[in-house]
């Protein structure tokens, strides 16, 4: 049997102040890392959760994003007539031609403004995306200059309250409603009538066409038809895949998060190492006594590493708790694929919390290993003479 855990717990309890300071210190480091992970997780969630695996996204062949894609009205009509498309209650096929235009709108915290997507849609857009709901005001009327904005946009951008107007292109647009897109990237958009938007911006083509097939078989069949029809020459992929591909625009954030996480783990490791070296230095004689009694080097090594793990796991939990206040904070960042703003919430998901505590434990293992090795290698007779 190994050295009992109560020995390690007892030692941590016997130097409460030092242990608490270490837990708090490493916890702060972990908290910064959790905040970075929550940022990345929030942006990724905003993008990935935007797409449904049951919808098909049709774009120009070779287009990466809607902003660089166009689908002619003639092609839209061919798609709309394909068999296997789900029907709305009114019997119309669930197909949504959409036009995405980027424009700059002043933010409350940045008067020079940020790029946001204005999405031209039909009244069918919400039927295909049932998780998007109106939360204030009303839907825009077709054929008018009315727009609806996401609730997150309203909080961050000027002139986006109901009744406000802003100039976009040659025309003024009036906000008549507010929608909530349930944390998806549509929370970063303003929606208008697709026909009126195209007319106002002199854009006769759509950017994309969203199709809802009436089952898995229909999804395959429609995909194959669009992909192989020589008249169309369009790219088709699941809406989920389209938004998943958008996350490649987060490479910069991912690199930043990785660098920060690396240095944070390094800091936590050095913190744990410093504490454990100090702990071992003051316990040389009792560790030598354990070895004299018959505990092996590896028992001593394991005991010190376990103590370091306990310490760093507590620090990891403290770090997650310290970071919790940032959970849910709404903000935005630029997506360098679409060149528009992505609104997102910092998300400390269970996976982020578990990952952070796991990294803290890894830091504990690495940080505890060197002091543990030094403690286990010390000759018993010399260590017994330590005061």
């Amino acid at each position: 049997m190994a050295i009992p855990l109560k020995y390690n717990i007892g030692n941590l309890m016997s130097r409460k102040v030092s242990a608490i300071m270490t837990i708090f210190g490493i916890g702060l480091v972990i908290a910064v890392m959790v905040a970075m992970l929550a940022l990345y997780n929030g942006v990724q969630q905003a993008l990935v959760s935007s797409g449904s695996k049951e919808n098909l996204m049709v774009l120009r062949e070779g287009a990466q994003t809607e902003a660089t894609s166009w689908v002619t009205r003639e092609k839209y009509r061919i798609i709309r007539a394909l068999p296997g498309i789900d029907k709305a209650p009114d019997g119309e096929p669930l197909v949504s031609p959409e036009l995405v235009i980027i424009f700059k709108l002043p933010r409350y915290d940045n008067p020079t403004g940020s790029n946001i997507n204005v999405r031209g849609v039909t009244q069918k857009a919400m039927a295909i995306r049932p998780y998007i709901t109106m939360v204030d005001g009303r839907m825009f009327k077709p054929g008018t200059n009315e727009v609806i904005v996401s609730s997150r946009m309203r909080k961050r951008f000027r002139s986006t309250n109901i009744g406000d107007s802003f100039k976009f292109g040659p025309r003024n647009w009036t906000v008549v409603g507010v929608f909530d897109a349930n944390g998806t990237s549509f929370d970063s958009e303003i929606w208008a009538d697709v026909e009126y938007l195209g007319l106002a911006q002199k854009r006769p083509e759509y950017s994309s066409v969203l199709v809802k097939p009436d089952g898995a078989a229909a999804m395959r069949s429609i995909s194959d038809t669009i992909a192989t029809d020589m008249r169309l020459k369009l790219l088709v992929k699941s809406e989920f895949k389209y938004y998943e591909d958008q996350t490649s625009g987060l490479l910069g954030i991912r690199v930043l998060v990785t660098i920060v996480a690396f240095f944070m783990v390094l800091g936590a490791t050095l913190g744990a190492m410093n504490t454990m070296f100090s702990a071992v230095a003051s316990r040389k004689r009792e560790l030598a006594t354990m070895r004299a009694l018959g505990f092996r080097r590896r028992d001593v090594l394991l005991s010190i590493v376990i103590e370091s793990i306990v310490l760093s796991a507590l620090a990891g939990i403290a770090g997650v708790l310290l970071a919790l206040p940032v959970n849910g904070i709404a903000t935005g960042t630029a997506n360098f694929i679409t060149f528009s703003e992505v609104a997102f919430n910092f998300r400390i998901s269970p996976a982020v919390a578990i990952f952070a505590v796991s990294l803290a434990i890894v830091a504990g293992v690495i940080g505890g290993l060197l002091p543990a090795i030094s403690a286990a290698r010390l000759p018993i007779t010399r260590a017994l003479r330590e005061i």
Partner: protein
């Protein structure tokens, strides 16, 4: 027949680039049931000899045989396992684990055996009873006097019923009364329980309790005295 057989043992320590000889060809036999006192001035090599017998150090040359096993040839792991079942340690500064209570301290060597939790409990209660501290089981070392701490250490040393008990200056940090009690206890372990005890001491009064005294000086054995009348001075 000897329980401990030391054959031409040399021990040399390295200090920086210098060789410091501590034991120079010592040969000693300790019969089973002996109460041996190792005496001599500081630096004479008595603690080094004790450490070699206890298996926490290795000779530079020569053999250390305990219970017909040449422990000086054991691997590190095998030696640790051997110590767990064959040696009970008593240190000058008691060396109890400060964050464990008396019962947990005494139980430590038992964790290296295959005894069940219930059996371990029975053993540690018996050991604490022998040293007269059954009522201090839940006390932590800081709550005990020096004499009581050393008695807990003795309970820890006997709890596995080891082949030999090694004691390095067991009364060196105690007042006269406590020292007397500890020596009485060691004598009782030897006389009543036939425990083989090897004790390093500077104190002639402590050595009087032993039935065999070895005098060391500068790493060599200078005198061996066997007494028949050693015993309790209560």
């Amino acid at each position: 027949m000897s329980l401990v057989d030391i054959r031409d043992v040399h021990k040399v320590y390295k200090r920086d680039s210098f060789d410091v000889p501590v034991l120079n060809g010592i040969s000693v036999s300790v019969p089973k049931g002996d109460f041996l006192a190792l005496m001599g001035p500081s630096g004479s090599g008595k603690t080094t000899l004790l450490n070699l017998i206890a298996g926490i150090d290795r000779p530079t040359r020569g053999k250390v045989i305990v219970g017909e096993k040449e422990i000086s040839a054991f691997s590190e792991t095998k030696l640790a396992a051997w110590r767990a079942t064959n040696v009970g340690f008593i240190f000058q500064m008691y060396n109890l684990i400060p964050v464990l209570n008396a019962a947990d301290n005494v139980e430590l060597p038992l964790l290296l055996t295959k005894l069940s939790k219930k059996e371990r409990r029975e053993h540690l209660e018996t050991a604490l009873n022998v040293v007269g501290l059954a009522d201090r089981m839940t006390y932590f070392p800081r709550q005990l006097s020096g004499g009581q701490e050393q008695r807990v250490a003795i309970a820890r040393a006997i709890v596995t019923d080891p082949t030999i008990i090694v004691a390095d200056e067991p009364t060196g940090d105690l007042d006269a009364k406590s020292a007397h009690e500890i020596l009485d206890l060691l004598h009782r372990l030897n006389a009543d329980f036939q425990k083989t005890i090897i004790m390093v001491t500077h104190d002639p009064k402590a050595a009087e309790r032993a039935n065999h005294v070895l005098q060391l000086d500068k790493g060599v054995l200078v005198e061996s005295e066997r007494r028949d009348s050693a015993g309790s001075h209560g």
